[in-house]
């Protein structure tokens, strides 16, 4: 068990190394002069030279790579071209809203999706099942920002139930904080709910066909007990896996959701950085998001041992 945990943690090192190399290589893979592209169309030669020097692009590539790795090891993600602030400071300022949005989305999605999937599998073949599956297909098809605008129209403009957009600090009261998070979380979580519900249903259908489920029914257990204690417990591993993998969807969606709902988080920082071609910020955000994704999936892998006692490493 301990050996497995250590091995699994060590396995994330090459993955993150590839991410780091990719993020570094991006600047050099691009066709043409990256300094000129970042500087934009109206830049003077002096501007381009300044950016070239700021990014260290005037150094030989092995020196640049060594520098980049060395600084990364020390938590230095570079300096923003536009604001001249360290990227790590900017990320630190913006990480709060994104974490709040991600966690509330994760919680809402799991609370909605798993019961939906269980219900669909339990009532397999009925209109309830079909309804859940139709919902799942729609969930995959409606882009997050289209849904976001529909929600804004229905819940904020037409009925005035929730604030249109913005973000409230949890320090300024729990109620405004939560009311600002509801709509973004639903919009962002929609595709995630569809994904988890679908896998939950599939996994439950597999388990419900097993002999021990029939036995459990036969010995007179109530349906709820069979469903939750015997079936869902055994169906948990694929569900946990998809929750981990689906975080990639959340991260992609965060960038858009924060733009639509004017939430000052990492996604908003990314979009602003794209518009200003502030490349160090983009590099930093990609590293942070990828690290978060790798970490979540590490935790999911480690949770298998808890979810399924048969798994012994």
């Amino acid at each position: 068990m301990f050996g497995y945990i250590v091995r699994r943690i060590l396995a994330t090192i090459p993955v993150m190394a590839v991410v780091a190399v990719f993020v570094f290589a991006l600047l050099h893979l691009s066709p043409g002069d990256p300094a000129a592209i970042i500087a934009g169309d109206n830049a003077t030669t002096a501007d381009i030279e300044r950016i070239r020097a700021a990014l260290g692009l005037d150094q030989p590539i092995y020196v640049q790579f060594g520098d980049w790795v060395w600084r990364l090891m020390h938590g230095d993600l570079g300096i923003s071209i536009f604001t001249n602030l360290p990227v790590s400071t900017l990320i630190h300022q913006r990480v709060g809203p994104t974490v709040a949005l991600s966690i509330s989305t994760l919680v809402i999605s799991i609370i909605v999706a798993i019961p939906l999937g269980v219900l669909a599998a339990w009532k397999a073949g009925t209109w309830i099942d079909r309804g859940v599956m139709v919902f799942a297909v729609f969930g995959f098809s409606v882009p997050v920002f289209v849904l976001a605008y529909i929600l804004i129209y229905v819940l904020a403009i037409a009925t005035n139930l929730l604030p249109v957009q913005g973000y409230a600090n949890p320090a300024d009261g729990l109620r405004p904080f939560l009311s600002h998070l509801v709509m973004p979380s639903i919009a962002l979580g929609f595709v995630y709910i569809a994904l988890i519900a679908r896998i939950t249903r599939a996994s439950m259908l597999d388990v419900l066909a097993q002999d021990y489920i029939r036995t459990a029914h036969a010995k007179g257990l109530s349906s709820e007990k069979v469903l939750l204690r015997h079936a869902l417990k055994n169906a948990a591993v694929p569900i946990a896996t998809i929750i981990g993998i689906g975080v990639a969807l959340l991260i992609s969606g965060v960038v858009v959701t924060e733009t639509v709902f004017a939430i000052p988080g990492l996604g908003r920082l990314t979009v602003d950085a794209i518009l200003r071609r502030d490349y160090p910020i983009i590099q930093g955000v990609i590293l942070i998001f990828s690290a978060a994704y790798v970490l979540v999936n590490l935790l999911v892998d480690l949770s298998y041992a808890l979810l399924d006692p048969r798994i012994r490493y």
Partner: protein
């Protein structure tokens, strides 16, 4: 060989029987038919865009800006007075081009890399580590990173999304190759002296095609959403090419007074993606009965 009743149906060519066969097919594969029809309509709309009562999607008419849908402007006009109906219809061209190009390019590239890694252990060890790393970067972020460094153009959007999709295709192809390599008939082909290239082409590639076709449809759907996301945040197609993503992006500032501008391209995008997803679901059910029961 005995002729079974179903064969007679196939042999018979007169109209009533044929109508029966079509009805049976639709009953058995409703999602393929519904998805196919939806996608077909969108493709037809994209191809025949100039003949569908459209005007120049880039023509400005500042005097007629922000008009709500009327008989003259079916979908209304945007902030610069451009006809939203024409822009939405022409937008289908961009979205479909991106979706189909990315699907073809990434399955093609993934097939090639997957075959090479499946047959060469040394290459496999290195390439798959790289793919694992790339897969841990959410695909929209890879596309954003690549787009931020290149000029906004349709080709660059297609290239950026393709790069983000290739690792998953590679994994899929590699897993098929690894399973097939152990099959007796593939071993027999090797044992009887068939060259590696020929074995790949005759025995391996045909078996990767059904899962690739299914994967390809889902990639097309995903690529269209990614394109819309990129255009929406300003890292996608240039404003001179109206795509569903950038139509919504340009006018999101006036959403509160003219929500129809976001609504129409959004509905078309959702319907197209829905069609492709249904098609993919149906193809998977038809090609992989083992999965069909479960998902």
């Amino acid at each position: 060989m005995a002729v079974v009743p179903s064969d007679i149906d196939l042999i018979a060519t007169h109209a009533p029987k044929q109508r029966g066969a079509v009805a049976t097919y639709i009953r058995r594969h409703p999602t393929i038919v519904v998805g196919g029809v939806l996608l077909g309509l969108m493709i037809a709309m994209a191809i025949f865009a100039p003949y569908l009562h459209t005007v120049d999607p880039l023509a400005l008419a500042p005097a007629k800006r922000l008009k709500w849908p009327t008989a003259e402007y079916w979908f209304g006009t945007d902030m610069l007075g451009r006809d939203l109906f024409s822009r939405t219809i022409y937008g289908a061209r961009v979205s479909l081009t991106v979706g189909i190009s990315v699907a073809i390019l990434s399955t093609g590239l993934g097939l090639f890399i997957g075959l090479v890694t499946g047959f060469n252990r040394a290459v496999d060890a290195i390439v798959m580590r790289i793919m694992d790393g790339l897969m841990s970067i959410p695909s929209v972020l890879i596309a954003i990173a690549l787009m931020a460094l290149t000029r906004a153009s349709l080709q660059n959007v297609i290239f950026a999304i393709t790069v983000a999709e290739v690792p998953r295709v590679t994994r899929l192809v590699r897993s098929v190759v690894l399973t097939l390599r152990e099959q007796p008939y593939v071993e027999a082909a090797f044992a009887s002296g068939t060259t590696q290239i020929r074995t790949m082409w005759r025995h391996i590639v045909p078996n990767t095609l059904p899962p690739l076709l299914v994967q390809g449809t889902f990639i097309a759907a995903g690529a269209m959403i990614t394109e819309a996301i990129l255009s929406f945040i300003g890292a996608g197609t240039p404003p001179t090419i109206p795509s569903w993503g950038n139509i919504m992006a340009e006018d999101r500032a006036v959403f509160l007074v003219a929500y129809y501008i976001v609504l129409f391209p959004g509905i078309f995008l959702s319907l197209t993606v829905l069609g492709i997803n249904l098609l993919g679901d149906g193809l998977r059910d038809a090609l992989d009965p083992r999965l069909a029961r479960r998902l």
